[in-house]
Structures are given as structure tokens and as C-alpha cells.
């Protein structure tokens, strides 16, 4: 494929687990990333996302598989020759150097003339609003400013590709959202290809062109945020991205693009892919998005017991005991006292929107 910029082909990494055994931290991962694309590696801690990033950066050597940049195999290119500046979770600023020296570091290594260094650093500082702080030391800056130094230190090299290792996880919530858009702005402006590691699904959904959901070293799904949210390929993705509720259902009747399943002796129509066919009586897992469910006053045939009500402002989150499991339902508040008419212990009727469902074979 000609428009592939970064290619990972069957990349695996094994670590020793300390008891003489081996752990496949990254297991046969293949990815094709296009030029200028913002791709996020998303997953819980220990899923192999950071190890994958570190292999791209050259800090870890894969046990098998190839990494290609613009069609060129970079397996044997040393980390310091890869020219893929990375923003670290800890920022990794050099504590004994000023902000200027920190940002100029990569240029100095490349023996760029002093005048050019001064211009480029000034430009990078301007780009991330650091002008005026050049003479300070990292210890004298706030977390947000340190983060921007780390960003400037990478940007000043005018890279084609940048790597991010959970760069926002040490910022407070408000600053995190601000910095998200700052990173996106610069990345789009300069047309940089970005490989971004995070465990925060809202960060991934809001920033990425495409998301790689990883679990236990494997790629669960690779797609646009919309695809991953609307049609999670596996129960893991449904859970990790959409915090889905899972219940066991039995197939009653298989249709062309719908499936009739049975829950609590009541029939429920579920959309399905036309390529799949299911046998009558087959046990399936049904995933339901909390925000596509609601409670209502009318009889729906599905009743549960209200266990917990958390008022969150725009929405209210209910925990409802249903069929032996607990379901999370997110209700959008309309009036001031809208959600307050319910109390724990109430019997409530559940309503599902058709797009709430996704079925998986168990």
C-alpha cells in the first residue's frame, strides 16, 4: 500500500515474568498507519500499548516482526537515529538544563548552527505559548508548562512523526482537555503523523483519526472512533469503550438483519449483520450501552430494581438489578427534578433503543 507511512508487521515482544516464564507483552500486532494520521493505542494498563510504542521508538527490540517507515525496514536503526521525538508521561525534562537548553537539545545533538537553534527554539516556544520562560529550569514550572516544554522539545525537530506516551495523565482534568486540543491543533497544522498511547477512552475518541484497541498484547479492533463506538468488534471493546452492560440471552428466531432473543421470557429484537446466522436456542452475550437505555413508566416487559442513583448534573446514572446482574443506565436529565422521582428499591421498567445492542457469541 503506497499511502502507508508506518507499518507494523506481525510484531511480538516477550518479557520474562520473573518466575522463569515468558509473557507475550505484544502478540503479533500488525498496523498500517497513513501519513498525517492521528492513531491512538488504547487499552488498560498492561495491554502492550506502551511496549508497542517503545518498539516503534526503538527502546525495545521486538522478538519477531518488522517495523517499516515509508517502506524502509527500521528494525536495525538505533533509537537515536530514528528521528521520532516522543513526549513522555513524566515529560522527562532534563532537570539540570534551562527550558531553552531542553528545547535546543535535539538540535544541538544534530549540530545545527547556533543562530538557527535560537530561531527554531523561539518559534517552538511561541507555538506552545512558552515565550518568556526560556531561562527557567523545569523545576520552576507548573505541570502544564512542563508538558508544553516536552511538546516544544519534540516539535522543534520538525518531525514527520511524533510519539506520545500518555502525555496528559499527569495534568488535572481541565488542563487535560485544553492540552488535548492544543496537541491536535499543532499536529494538524504541521501535518505530523502521531502515534498516541492512552488508557483514557474519551481522550482517544476525541483526538484520534483511528483507534487501536489493545488487550493482553493483541489488537482487539482497529477503526475510526465512530466504528469502535457504534460497532465494537468484541465484548472487550464494548466494555472498555462503552462501559457496556452484558446479559446472557437465548436465540428465539434468526432473521435477515434482526435476531429475536429472549430475556426474562420477553422477546427482544436485536440488529445483526446479515452474514451471521445463529441457531435456535443458542446462548449469546448481549451488550447494551448505558446511554441507549432508559427507565420509563410504561410496561415494557423488562423490570428491574433500582439499587443506586448518582446525580451527575446533565445526566443521572442508575444502577439497576436486572435478571441477576447489575445494569448501568444513563438517563439524560430534562427537568430539574426529572430523575429524582425514583428511589432505591423501586421496581422500574427498562426501555432499550434499537442501536443499544450488540450480540456476541460466548
Amino acid at each position: 500500500m503506497s499511502d502507508t507511512y508506518l507499518l507494523l508487521n506481525g510484531v511480538s515482544k516477550i518479557f520474562k515474568d520473573g518466575q522463569g516464564g515468558q509473557v507475550r507483552a505484544v502478540d503479533n500486532v500488525s498496523l498500517k498507519i497513513k501519513k498525517g494520521e492521528f492513531v491512538t493505542l488504547l487499552g488498560p494498563s498492561g495491554c502492550g500499548k506502551t511496549t508497542t510504542l517503545r518498539m516503534v521508538a526503538g527502546f525495545e527490540v521486538q522478538n519477531s516482526g518488522d517495523i517499516l517507515l515509508e517502506g524502509r525496514n527500521i528494525n536495525n536503526v538505533a533509537a537515536y537515529d530514528r528521528n521520532m521525538p516522543m513526549v513522555f508521561q513524566s515529560y522527562a525534562l532534563f532537570p539540570h538544563m534551562t527550558i531553552f537548553e531542553n528545547i535546543a537539545y535535539g538540535l544541538k545533538v544534530r549540530k545545527v548552527p547556533k543562530d538557527t537553534i535560537r530561531n527554531d527554539v523561539a518559534q517552538a516556544c511561541q507555538m506552545v505559548n512558552l515565550t518568556g520562560l526560556e531561562k527557567r529550569y523545569p523545576g520552576e514550572l507548573s505541570g502544564g508548562q512542563q508538558q508544553r516544554v516536552a511538546l516544544a522539545r519534540a516539535l522543534v525537530l520538525k518531525p514527520q512523526i511524533m510519539l506520545f506516551d500518555e502525555p496528559l495523565s499527569n495534568l488535572d482534568a481541565k488542563l487535560r482537555i485544553q492540552t488535548r486540543s492544543e496537541i491536535m491543533r499543532v499536529q494538524q497544522m504541521l501535518g505530523i503523523t502521531a502515534l498516541y498511547v492512552t488508557h483514557d477512552q474519551s481522550e482517544a475518541l476525541s483526538m484520534s483519526d483511528r483507534i487501536v484497541v489493545m488487550n493482553q498484547g493483541k489488537v482487539e479492533q482497529f477503526g475510526t472512533p465512530e466504528e469502535i463506538y457504534a460497532a465494537p468488534a468484541t465484548p472487550f471493546v464494548a466494555d472498555f469503550i462503552g462501559n457496556a452492560n452484558f446479559i446472557n440471552v437465548t436465540v428465539r428466531k434468526d432473521g435477515a438483519d434482526t435476531l429475536e432473543v429472549e430475556v426474562q421470557d420477553t422477546a427482544l429484537m436485536v440488529p445483526k449483520s446479515p452474514d451471521e446466522s445463529y441457531g435456535e436456542g443458542e446462548e449469546l452475550i448481549l451488550a447494551m450501552k448505558p446511554e441507549s437505555m432508559d427507565i420509563c413508566d410504561e410496561e415494557t416487559g423488562f423490570t428491574g430494581t433500582m439499587e443506586l442513583i448518582s446525580y451527575l448534573g446533565a445526566t443521572t446514572e442508575f444502577k439497576i438489578e436486572f435478571n441477576g446482574t447489575f445494569l448501568t443506565v444513563i438517563h439524560t436529565n430534562t427537568g430539574a427534578k426529572d430523575a429524582r422521582k425514583f428511589q432505591t428499591g423501586d421496581r422500574v421498567n427498562l426501555r432499550f433503543e434499537p442501536d443499544a445492542f450488540q450480540v456476541y457469541r460466548s
Binding site: S12, D27, F88
Partner: protein, 564 residues
Amino acid sequence: MSSPKNAPALKAPNPFYQLTREPLLLAAVLFLLVLLGLFILYPLFEVARMSLTAKDGSFTSEVYEYVFTHVRYRKAIRNSVLLGVIVATTSTFIGYVFAFSLTRAGIRWKKFFNTMAILPIISPPFMFALSVILLFGRNGLITAGLLKLDVTGLYGLRGLVIVQTIGMFPMAFMTLSGILQGIDPDLDTCAMNLGAKKGRAFFTVTLPLSLPGIFASWLIVFVGSLTDFGNPIILGGDFDVLSVQAYLEFTGMGNLARGTALAILLLVPTVAVFFFQKYIMKNKTYTTITGKSSRRGVVVVGPVVKNILFAFCLLFSAFVLMFYITIISGSFIKLWGINWSFTLEHFSYSWDVGLKTMRNTLFLALISTPITAIMGMVIAYIVVRKKFPGKHLMEFLSMLSYAIPGTCVGIGYILAFNKAPFKLSGTAFILIACYVFRNVPIGVESGIAALKQISPDIEESSTNLGGDSSYTFRNITLPLIRPSFFAGATFAFVRSMTAISAIIFLVSARWNHMTVLVLAQTEIMRLGVASVMSFALIVVLLAVIMVIMRLTGLKQSQIFGTTK
């Protein structure tokens, strides 16, 4: 779940990967292992071999049987242990009170007490023994002069407990203030918040949390007392201890085999403690730091306790200070206890007798210090940052010499290096080697601590920005470990200048050491001259430390790693 079909064949990680890719690393590792083997293991092996070899060259354990069946040696063993137990207990107690007062109680004059608790470290080994003779001896200022007592019980256990406690409580203090600073004051606050009174909070939270530290410090002082040579040779009297017995047997009576056997008897407990510390205690320390601590300097004692602690620190500091003042006064008194008139003749005599030795002592310490510090830092760097088989052996060997009593090292070096192919005895080289390998653990330890504080992220970040490993080492790692490098160097320097137990075996007429000279003067009761020389040694030490601090911008707390 991946079927074996699509799982690619995986190469087993090659343990020699880094070594084969970096020839410089391979060369350094081999070179260091050979040096450590030659100067740490080989002499030890020679000591053990000598103690187990009969006159005709065959294997025998009869020397040990002799030692264990004769009252003189059994008594020396018992005495050494008894002294060690008492001194470890008193020193740890005093060290704990100091450490607690300075880190937790918020008492006044912190800086002064801190200095008093460090000063004994930079003092010649038997300076306190000398002082104690001047103060409490047969012609002592206090005993004979003020109280008109005829004291004879000073030599032996009583005197040794006093001088070793003063000399060794700083070790306990430094260990314990580190431990106490690691205990989050929020825990105390929390205990009080849960209803515990201040005293109860201390006994239920702080004290239990510092128990591993107390135990560790007790062991460190115990070993220190056991292997101390300078104090017992002066103040021991007929209270025989192992280190002195080993020395006397080996050099005085020419009974080499019995000397080595006694040295091995010293080695066994120290190595046992070393192993215990390194491999058992390591997992026993509590980690209390979880989450963000407010780290406020909470004062966790009431005003009464605070005053008691202050008074204790003040009294003990005054006691320590008195010993220094005594030495200084002793330098100017004609004949202590008999003729109290002022004189400078001890100075002129010391100048004539000691100048060359002082120059040599300083010269050898200044040569060996940078070698020690650089070697320690290189070992630390390799151990922390590189992966290769034999890495743990290297760390173990470099730390092992901490555990080897000086007496053992001295005897070992004589046995190992007085014959071809390593004929070194009588040269400056053997003394330098002795300093370097005795002190290299200091460099290694401070280097490891410093490197572990630098997160690998920072070095990786440099690599990521284009710096190869030598560029990164020069521009990032080296500047960041600079303070601990100089701290380690300073400590190594102090230890070289105040060494005695090993080098007393190795000095020669050409290359003498100040401490050995002071010992000789003390033995012939030239106490005035001995005072001058001890005093001079401290002055030279302080001057060099001051110069290092000035040149590097380091503070006292950075070098001796105590309370800030």
C-alpha cells in the same frame, strides 16, 4: 486466542546481547571483574588457606581447635561479642534520639547537633581513646586532677564502651535519620486524628515503622565495634578482643596461622551480617509512601518531651565536644597531669617527626580517592543501566569489601602480595589498592542511589532526541550524578585519611600513615604529640572537605546524607 499457526517463531532473548554489541562494555566488565577478584577475593582466599594449612602444607583444622580450646582466645571472642552488643545498643539508642529529635521534634540548634553527630566520623580512629585517657586516665584531668581518684578501671570494657559509642553513634544516626525521614509524618497525624495521644502515636506508629532501621543500625554498629582496632589497642588493657589479638599474633609473635584464624573468626560474623542486610532485610523495610503526602514538618511531640530531647542532645553534644577540646588543649600542655604549663614543643616535634608522613598520607589519599570514586561510579552505572550475565556477581563483589574486617584485609594483602607475581608489599601501590578496594563500596552505593533516582525516561528522552549512549552519558547522566560522585569521593577520602585496621599491616618506613604514627606516639605515652597529630589530621581533613564543598557547591547534608 492465538493458534500456534499464526504465532511467529520467537527468538529467546539473548543474555549476552548488550555485551556483544558494546565491546567497550565487555572490556570494562572483564577488567573490573579481574580487579575485584584479585584485590578482594584473592587476599581473602589466602587468609583462609593459611589458617587451614599445616606446617608441612597439608590441610588441617588444628589452628581453629587450638583457638577454641584455649581460654585466652575464647575470652577474646567473648569480649569482642560483649563489647559489640553493648556498644551497638548504646549507639543505636543515642543515634535514634538524635535522629528523632532532628527529624521529628523540631528542636532548636538543629544545625549544631547535626554537626556534632557527624564530627566523629571525620576523626582519627582512636582520637576518643586518647581523649579519654587525658580526661579519665591515671593522670586524667577529671579523675586525678579534679576528683583526686586513683582510677585503674578505665582500661578495658568501660573505657571502650565510652569511646566506641561516641565514635559509632554517628553511623546509627545517619541510618536512622534516613529511615525516619522516609516515614510519612501524615501517619502520625493520622494516628492522632484517630484518637491516639502523641506518645501513643509514637509507640504505635513511628517506632514500629522504624524497627527495621533500628535493627539495621544495631547490626552496623555491632560489626563496627567488632572490627574496630584503633580503640582497643590503646584502651583495651587486658580486655583482649579479636582484632587486637589477630594483629598481635600475626605481627608481634609471628604466629601467622593463628593470626589468620582469628581474622577469619572476625570475618564470619561480619559477612553473615552483610548477607543478612543485603538479602533478608532488603524485603523487610516498610514502604509507607503511597499517594501524595502533605510532607509538612509536623512536630509530633509535646513541649515537655521536646525540652527533654533538647537537653539530651545538648548534654551529649557537650560531652563529644569536650573530647575535641581536650585534644586541642593536650596539644599545648607540657606533660598532661603532671606539668600543666603551656608549650609549643609538641608542635615542633610533630613537625619534625610527622611532616613527611602527613604528606604521604595526604598524597596517597588524594591519589586513591578519584580512582575509588570513578571506579565506584562506573560499576554503579554498569550494574544499574546494563544487562548482562555476571552483573549481580559484580555488584556483590564490589559491595563485599564493606563486610571484610580491616584486620582481615591487612593480613590478606600481606599474604597475597609479598611474592611474585604480585610483589607489592612496602610500596605505595599496596596502600592505594587497599584504600581503593576498601572504599569502593561507598562509590558504588552512592552511584547506585543516584542513578536509581534518575528516571530512565530522562536518558531515553535524550536517546529519542538523537543522542547516542556516549552523548547521553556525557550530557545527561554525568551532570546529574555529579553531586553524589563528589559526596562519595569525599567520604572515600575521609576513610582513607582515618584508616588504620588494614593499613597498619601494610605501612613501611617509606610509606607510613598518620594514624599509625599517632598510635606509636600514644603507645610510648607521648600524649601531647599524639594530640597534636590527631588535631592536625582533623584540620587537614576539614580543609580538604571545605575545598571540595567550595569547588562543587555541595552542602554538608549532601555529602553526609543526613537531615536537611
